[in-house]
């Protein structure tokens, strides 16, 4: 069976950048699977998830392959692309207040892509909108309301309902809770997880919140400076990080199950897009970096004894115990 999403060696160049913003991303989301993509601000999480819908910044050029349900997104024609966006993959955005046109009714927002692609009569689209609103816990009357009349949490529910309108195989959620308050965040994440189960979609969940990633996802990709630093099943990856960057991220994240200890911010800044990179992109900030790290780009290697795990670090095997220890005890 084909994966719902398959990204192979995706490279993305932006005008004015000295190196590719995405430098060879490999990522898969299986059918009905939840996959988290984590990393610091600027690491390229949004660009990766937007590439899946070919929502690229002006002037961007791409190499590699992005396939949704086996269809290559980067090379399809405009009609296929509309079909993909309407029926196969849908994105949930960070700030629902900015993401929904304030001048049009919610009903219009929900049904517009189905109606305007001339494949669904208006009445049928309306009926589906009512069902999807019900699925996210909102009543029919919301259809006639304007975004300004709803709270942020309600609007994000509307956004989720709209993503489900075309019965997609894949949902991309780009930090869907960052703009919401804490209680609403939990509700929205819970809802998203339920609906993924109920409607049988795959979910790519972009976040910089490792706790959230661990709670919601089956597998996690850790991204740094346009590359995947490490990937694996959520539990294994957070218990036994194999990349110094993952360990550092964990140490900088508050954890409910380990309330003691101080949070350690990662020293230094991610490399700017203006500089070219040789070697490991994390080398400049890595406490374990050696000469080899600065000179040679570490390839993705399997972790001995752990299937489904890949890590891009020269010293990952030697550091295994040290990294696992530091992540657990701080």
């Amino acid at each position: 069976m084909t994966n719902t999403l398959e990204i192979d060696g995706l490279r993305l160049h932006l005008p004015g950048a000295a190196r590719p913003v995405l430098a060879g991303i490999d990522l898969t989301v299986g059918a009905r699977e939840t996959v988290a993509l984590v990393g610091e601000s600027g690491s390229g999480k949004s660009l990766t998830s937007r590439s899946v819908l070919r929502l690229l910044p002006p002037g961007a050029t791409t190499e590699g392959r992005v396939a949704v349900q086996g269809q290559d997104v980067l090379t399809m024609d405009a009609k296929q692309l509309r079909q993909l966006r309407t029926h196969t993959a849908a994105m949930i955005f960070q700030d629902p207040r900015a993401a929904i046109n304030p001048l049009r009714r919610i009903g219009d927002f929900l049904t517009e892509s189905l109606r305007l692609n001339a494949d669904t009569p208006a009445q049928q689209a309306d009926e589906r909108a009512v069902r999807m609103l019900d699925a996210v816990g909102l009543g029919e009357r919301v259809l006639r309301q304007y975004p300004g009349q709803l709270s942020g949490g309600m609007l994000q529910r509307v956004m989720i309902a709209s993503a489900l309108m075309g019965d997609p195989a894949l949902i991309l959620a780009d930090e869907p809770t960052t703009a919401l308050d804490v209680t609403t965040q939990a509700e929205v994440v819970g809802l998203l997880d339920d609906l993924r189960e109920r409607f049988g979609t795959g979910l790519l969940f972009v976040t910089h919140d490792l706790g959230l990633a661990a709670a919601i996802s089956d597998r996690v990709y850790v991204m740094y400076a346009g590359r995947i630093a490490e990937t694996g099943p959520a539990e294994a990856l957070f218990d036994r990080p194999r990349h110094p960057y993952t360990a550092a991220l964990l140490r900088s994240t508050p954890r409910l199950d380990a309330p003691q200890g101080r949070l350690a911010a990662i020293k230094g800044q991610p490399p700017s897009l203006k500089e070219e990179l040789t070697g490991c992109p994390f080398a400049a900030r890595c406490p374990f970096a050696t000469q080899a790290c600065a000179e040679e780009l570490p390839p993705h290697r399997p972790v001995p004894g752990e299937p489904d795990r890949l890590v891009a670090c020269h010293h990952s095997d030697q550091l295994a115990d040290q990294l696992a220890g530091s992540a657990a005890h701080d």
Partner: protein, 319 residues
Amino acid sequence: MTFLRFTLRRLAEMAATLLAASFLIFGAMYLAPGNPASFLLSGRSASPEALKAINDQYHLNDPFWEQYLRWLGQVLHGDFGRSIEYRTPVNTLLAARLPSTLLLVAMALVLVVVLGLALGWIGAVRGGATDSTILVGTTFAVGTPSFVAAVLLQGLFSVKLGWFPSSGSGAGLGSMLWHLTLPALALALYLIGMLARVTRSAMLEVMGHEHVTVTRSRGVPERAVIRRHVFRNTLGTVLTMGGLIVSTLLICTVLVETAFSVNGIGQLLDLSTTTKDFPVVQAISLIIVGIFMLVNFVVDLLLPLVDPRVSLGTRGASA
């Protein structure tokens, strides 16, 4: 605020403004140098008796307040008095000249709305060389005063090419349309450039909004994205320009009608000002002020329909 309360409040405001405007206009005419009687009799040997007769007939020697209140009483009864120059009721004079002006302003308004919006839209959506060309064109249009535009259009299309008449307003609708094409263009040119620029920059601004990207991400066809989200969201901005557009048309029509010898109300205002024909000047000025306020009132009524975040009586920014 309810519709009724809003309407009543605005009507009261408009009445008060008109009253103040009428007083100012009347006062300005009263203080301005020159006497209508002397214009009327210029060229003729005016006997003191004739002069006195005119002054008496038009009460020109009465104290200011008496003159003003008498005039105001008439106006409230719908009578703007008699023209000193033409010796006919101002109402008759206006009625005869109204069709040319109405048609001229309407033609110009259609040109402004259609061409202004279309050029702004095309510039914003196409970008590149098309956009640059439109920008240069609108810069030229905005920098050309309407009387200069009138002279240029006359020179090119009437004198040189002979496609359109250079003056007059014709009789019968067809002939009027033909006669008024060049004046309408001259009148509209500045506002076309202005509206195109406003539309273009408003559309570019909206295009940068996240909700436009979101709509694209849902597979909505690009034309629908532009029409239903980008252009739709600029309507508030365009509508708030309505008052400015109409008042500019009304003011510039004076210059354009004079330049093209269109016998409309604008030309009449120009003539009456030079001959100190008080009643006519006052009537036309008041009508212009009234129309301006009416347009703004209609704009305020329409804004909430275009932007649900604006409630009656509170103009807000639109996105």
